[in-house]
Structures are given as structure tokens and as C-alpha cells.
Symmetry: none
Subunit: 205 residues, 4 copies
């Protein structure tokens, strides 16, 4: 007996569920959001959801995987188009500067990611997955930019590439996490200042 529905159909359905789960987790948090919330928001039945995912945890995990790789793919594609280190760094900051962190969708994304980090920190396996994912997707990216920049003479030699990659994400994550909680946080102003400071520090004048 051949499969009755196409893989495309299944993939679409999964995405629908993930998208609803995302909204629910953002609104209430993973623990407080219920499968019924997802049922209501998606219009997909409870049984169907369990056909596509093994558990609530499973939905969470898959959601985070998908999210991260999507973000990363978009990011990386654009960056590879730039040539100089300064352009690439500018681009990275500008992604965040062009964002309106106060529209619901973005706040939601920030919240869910932050919560997932917290959640993962309590689970050995997740911590490891998150760490390697971070290394692969986020740290190496900036490290590469800085190393290339140092070779081409754009970036100061005393800059430790890995450290400044960590520094970059620390600061960005810091701003983002403030924004989630404090509604009147001067997101763009702080980020602009951070960008200025960072560029000033790493760039050969």
C-alpha cells in the first residue's frame, strides 16, 4: 500500500502545527501553553498533532531546530554576498537594527528563544546540542569574518576572533532580552551605540 498522502502534504501540516505552537509558546511559555491551546490555534485535532509529533517536548525541540536553521540560512546567504569585513559586520548589526523588536511577532520570537535557552540549560543533552549549534551557526560565522579581516588588514591583530564572536552575541542577546521585558527599552539607540563601540574596537582606523 503506497502512502495515501504526499510528503509535501505532511511537511505542510507539520509546519502549520509548528507555527501554531510557536505562537502559543510565545504567548504563555512552553510549560503553561497546552496542547489544547495549539489545537485551538491551529484548528488541527489533538490526534493529528500526535501523528506528527511524539510529544509536546518533541514539538518544542523541532520548533527550535527549524527556527535556528532558517535564521541561519537567511543570514549566511546574505553575508556571503559581502566582501569586506566591515561590510559583513555592518550587515549583521543592521539586521538587528532594521528589526522592530516591539511588533508582536518579533517579541514572540525573542521570548521563545530565550525560554528555550533557559529550558536547555537544565538538560545536559539539550545544552550540548545548543552549544554545538551555536558554535556551528553563530560563532564560526563571526570568527571567520574576523579572521578574514585580520588577513586582509581590516581588523586589528589584537582582536581574539572567538572572543569577539562571543562578545558580539552577548551584547546582541543582552539588548534583545531587555527588550522583551521592558517595553520602552531604547532598543535601537542602545544597539547603535553597541555597533559603534564594537566597530571602533575591532576595525583598523
Amino acid at each position: 500500500m503506497p502512502p495515501i498522502v504526499s510528503d509535501d502534504y505532511k511537511e505542510k501540516k507539520k509546519k502549520e502545527i509548528l507555527s501554531s505552537a510557536f505562537v502559543c509558546f510565545a504567548k504563555k511559555g512552553f510549560e503553561v501553553a497546552t496542547i489544547n491551546d495549539i489545537v485551538e490555534h491551529s484548528g488541527i485535532s489533538k490526534g493529528a498533532i500526535y501523528n506528527y509529533f511524539q510529544s509536546k517536548d518533541d514539538i518544542y525541540l523541532e520548533l527550535m531546530s527549524t527556527e535556528t536553521s532558517q535564521t541561519y540560512d537567511e543570514l549566511n546567504q546574505e553575508i556571503s554576498k559581502k566582501t569586506s569585513a566591515i561590510e559583513k559586520l555592518n550587515y549583521l548589526f543592521d539586521i538587528y537594527l532594521d528589526l522592530n523588536p516591539f511588533i508582536e511577532e518579533n517579541k514572540a520570537r525573542f521570548s521563545v528563544h530565550l525560554e528555550f535557552k533557559l529550558h536547555s540549560s537544565r538538560n545536559k543533552e539539550l545544552t550540548e546540542r545548543l552549544r554545538s549549534r551555536r558554535q556551528k551557526y553563530f560563532i564560526s560565522q563571526i570568527t571567520d569574518i574576523l579572521i578574514d579581516g585580520q588577513k586582509s588588514g581590516e581588523i586589528k591583530q589584537d582582536v581574539n576572533p572567538e572572543l569577539f564572536a562571543d562578545l558580539f552575541w552577548s551584547m546582541v542577546d543582552g539588548v534583545v532580552s531587555q527588550t522583551i521585558v521592558y517595553e520602552d527599552y531604547p532598543y535601537h539607540e542602545v544597539l547603535k551605540e553597541i555597533k559603534k563601540m564594537f566597530i571602533l574596537r575591532v576595525l583598523v582606523q
Copy 2:
């Protein structure tokens, strides 16, 4: 188990409960940790806990209030001893630099606070309380340092005090939140670099 007890006794008991709650919330997170966990960890009966607190939420709230004011009081006392802006800023950074963020107790503290922020972000009233608490305890403190420094000529005039207060906590929070998740995060190195950048940016050379 005395029936008529001193206020001291009651205060001590409350602290015991809060302290156990803290450990449990840190280990599992607020939602996942149960009252039974607190019972087991504290050795205090369920009923007794509810004699001291109205609900699990109440424990959480009181825990966070206590934590914040304690942190703040310690901080402020020391800061008021310093005279110059540079000394004060150095001191602030050094508090975090002197910390070992990898010992369980500190990681726990960071986790619980981060989770509380997230939790609060989903509740209008808590958001407001957190915002005003932050303004009162954390922002105004640094703002004052910077303003005083500008008057005395230590701090550059183009520095917007409020903005740099926001900036300061963004960066510190950012580093801290990375540390919770990524066990090998170069906490001290990143923080040192942040300190250098910040001081360089605000201080008149």
C-alpha cells in the same frame, strides 16, 4: 515547633522556605518545580509552607523581591564609599568579574532571575513592577554616576547617561545569560573586554 514564636523565628522560617524554593526553581524552573519539591528540599511540611505564603506564585514573587533588594543594598553601600566615577564604574564591573559564574549557586541565581524576567514579560502587572524596580535600583544608580562624572569632568559630555545605563545592563545581562547555557563560555574574558570598551567610550582620556 513552638506555638507562640518570635518574629525572628518566623522570619527565619520564611527565609528557609525561600531558600529551598530558590534551589528548586533554579534546578527545574518555576513551572516544573512543585511544592512537593520544596517540601522535600526544606523538610518543612506542605501546610507550614502555606502558613507562610499564600501560593506558589507568592513564594516566587517574594523570592524575587528579597533577592533584588538584597543585591541592591549590598551594591549601593559599597558604591557610595567610592568618590570618582571611574572608581564606581570599575567597582560595578569588578563585582561581576570577581564572580565565579560557574559555581552552582551563581548559575542558579542567574537562571532564576532570567526566568523571572521572562515570566514577568507575560504579565502586565509584573512587567510594570519589574520596570519600576529596575529604574529605581539599577538604572538611576548608573545614571547618577555618569551625571556626577560629567559634572566633575570625568565623563564625556556626549554620553547620554540613561542610554549608557541601559547599555551597561544590556551587556552584563547578555554575558550572564550566555553563561547560564554555555558551560565553557569565556565569561571573564568577555566581561573584561566589555569593561575596557565601556570605560574607553565614556571616560575623558
Copy 3:
């Protein structure tokens, strides 16, 4: 245990729960009877019960609504078949006279209703609901009979219809409530005497 079920099925299930709840409330009283009692008596799981009702209170309320309207519907149908006032009044009394108040089911019904009245008397909203329900279902019915009877000359003119409606239910309720407690109460004899007195008082000789 079918997943997609007819409205009939659901209605039946609800009635099963209500019927079990009725027995449990009758046996122990609303406060003392537990959801677990209903679970045991009905053989329906706790979760299922909460799929059909929002709370224990909800069960109680719905039980009382259903009971009242059922009683009323049966009553009213029969009464409308009679033509003269005397026939109607006779019929009303005879309903209670034909009852065996000592069989468990009827005692149970009396108990539950009496307790519900008591319960309602401590709750503003319920008091109001009960009052309007009483007016609509029980008082107006007898008032109508008496008014019609006065028009046709059957009923004495000095009889205040509303007052005698109140009087009627007072006496019936009184007898019923004695019967619940005093097992050897001469229910039928007292009721017969009441009937005689009432008819003698309102009927034109």
C-alpha cells in the same frame, strides 16, 4: 469510547453523570460528596466528568436546572388537560399524595432540593435565579389557576391568588421537609388534611 460521537451520546453521558451526582449529593450532601464519589458511582473517569462539566458547582447547578424544568414540564402538561380550578388543584395535591416519600429515590430528591435551597440562600446570584425560577414555574401556575377560578366563580373572591400560591408551596414544602428527617412522619395524613383545609378555604361552597 468513540472519539466522534453524536450529540445524543453526549447528552446521555451528561445525564449519566448528573444521575450519579444526584445520588451522591443525596447520600452525603453537596459539600461532603466528592468528585471521586461520583467517579466511583458512575464508573466514569474524573477527566471525563470535567470534559462535560466545568466544576463541581457546575454539576450542582445543572442538576438543579434539569430537575426543576423536568418536574415543571411534567406538571404543566397534565394540568393543562384539566378544565376546572378544582380539578387542577386536586391534581396538584394528588401528585404529592400519590408519591411514596419514603422510597429512597424520593427522599433523595427532596433532600437534594432542600439543600440546594439552603445553598442558594447563601449566594446572591443563586438566590435571584431561584426566585425567578420559582415565580415563573411554580407561583404563576397556581396564581393562574386561582385567577381563572375566580373569573368562573369557582374560587372565592377574597382569596389573594399570589398569597395562596405562596401558601400552597409553603405547606407542601413544609410536609416534604419534615418527611426527610422524621422517618415515621404521617406524610399522607398530614397532606390530606392540608388539602382539605386549602380546598375548603378557597372554593366557593
Copy 4:
């Protein structure tokens, strides 16, 4: 060692507790009212209450005993002063007619008694105690009046004394129980009509 406090003191304390318990049971009902409610209302400590009563049930039982005998003693004393049956019956009705059933205290008393009857109906032993108490205090009283009246020619011979004693309390209880629930119940009017009907029926014209 002689007792440290006098019996009088103890009696007074018991009465204080009973009086508070009465108020609490009236307000919330026996099951819902808590020992803490009584503590708060009476200002007497929990431990002290348990020094005077063995359990919450015990308070309830003793409260009801006290109440009934008090009511009865007052009643009986007055009745014995009257000579004719008609005077005695009039007096009995007038006690209830002179009552304002809408003031809190009286509503409370009615409620507590009604609830106690209900409560007792679910307990063999209590049922028996209540029955014999009723017989001794309430039924025999009226039966005696009627028998005496029949001897003296005041009361019709076809009146069954016991039955009419039952009838009397049925009707009074009926009116009272309506009044508890229906705030605008025409208590006095209904009672007056009942009195008229009853006297008309039993008295030789």
C-alpha cells in the same frame, strides 16, 4: 491540685464559642465554615476551642442541643400561663407572627436549624435524637393543648391531636424555610392565613 478556673468561667467560654460558631455556621453553612472562621469571630484561639470541644462536629451538636432546649424552655413557660386552648394556640402562632424573619439573626437561626435537620437526616443516630427531641419538646406540647381542648369542648372531636401537631409544625416550618430563601416572601401574610385556617379547622365554632 484544684481546678484553676471556675466552672462558671468554663461555661461562659463555651457559650462564647457556641455563639461564634452559630454566626459562622449561619453565614457559610456547617461544611464551609472553618474552625479558623470561629477563631477569628470569637477571638478565642484554636487550641482553646479544642479544649472545650472535641471536634467541629461536637460544636455543631452541642450548639443544636442548647438552641433547642432554650427555645423550648422559653416557649413552654409562657404557654403554661395561658388557660384555654385557643389562647395557647394563638400564642404559639403569635410567637412566629411577632418575629421579624428578615433580620439577620432570625434568618441565621432558621438557616442553621434547617441545615442541621438536613445534616441529621444523613445520620441514623442524629435522626433518632432529633426525632425524640421533637416528640418530647414540640409535638407533645401541641398534642397536650389539643387533648385538653377536646376535653373542655373547645376543640373539635374529629381532630386527631398528634396529626394536627404534625400539621402545625409542617406549616410553620414550611413558611420559615421559604423565608430563608425568598427575600420578599410574604411571611406574615401567609402565616396569618395559616393561623386563620388552622384555628377555623380545629376550633368548635
